[in-house]
Symmetry: C2
Subunit: 158 residues, 2 copies
């Protein structure tokens, strides 16, 4: 489904939905980050998606990473909240969702790397220094910076 | 609105709603905790309530504390996530909401203590040692324990 992100846009459509969602910064033993190349907006991102009723939030994180990358992970910690009401996502079915996202840090414990063949056209381990050269949404870049910032002792609140 | 909490209850009604909500453990300079005595279930609790579209999550925390206690607060940190899908809240209008709650720690920066006269029949600063003697829902007691646990370096994930 196509999606347009509006940030601080006075012409953004009115919010009609709030769905808690997650992203996860998964690192391997070499410190590389698990990245996906999304079909919907042609941007690189870390895996993630929306909470479904009946799940705990860590269930959601594990399911989304499994669906999008094939990997089983352990959720290590929460690295930030991203709930800026001036960041709005407009989908082509008319849903206008306020950003309400929690970002976690995880590590792979099993599974085998693969894309889902639908939402994802590539799945790759990327060294942090190489992330700068990829095309990422600024809000995604911020989540990764916060998650990898070892000087940060508590989750970012935004 | 009356509410019944079901935890690990095989006869709990089916979930039809997920609304992100918050609680906040506010302490004063003496280490006392800001507690309210709720009208709906006659239990003591820390202030909190549901996220409204157009708010950041810290906006929600500040608004709920203001509405329920009269105090203006600064949000200091996130102390835990509480998203157990086997904790279900059934309201008398038919809504059956899965628990999806974030707990924060705050400190008072202004305002004047008062109840809202509707949802709250008392508002009081309570020393941590005295909380044990109050009638609290176990899930609320857990949030307070996690928030006051100085040995905990990262938010509880549940």
């Amino acid at each position: 489904m196509a999606r347009i992100d509006h940030i601080d846009d006075p012409n953004a459509p009115a919010i009609n939905s709030v769905v808690p969602s997650v992203t996860c910064v998964v690192q391997n033993d070499d410190g590389q980050v698990l990245m996906i190349h999304r079909v919907d907006n042609d941007l690189w991102a870390v895996p993630g998606g929306g909470h479904e009723p009946g799940e705990s939030i860590t269930d959601t994180v594990r399911r989304e990473v499994r669906e999008e990358t094939g990997l089983e992970i352990e959720v290590l910690r929460l690295s930030g909240t991203y709930t800026n009401p001036r960041h709005v996502m407009a989908y082509d079915d008319g849903e206008v969702r306020q950003q309400f996202s929690l970002c976690f840090v995880g590590r792979a414990v099993g599974g085998r790397l693969r894309g889902d063949g639908v939402e994802t056209k590539a799945v790759r381990w990327v060294a942090p220094a190489d992330i700068a050269g990829l095309n990422l949404h600024p809000s995604m870049r911020l989540r990764i910076e916060h998650a990898l910032d070892s000087g940060r002792t508590a989750p970012y609140l935004g």
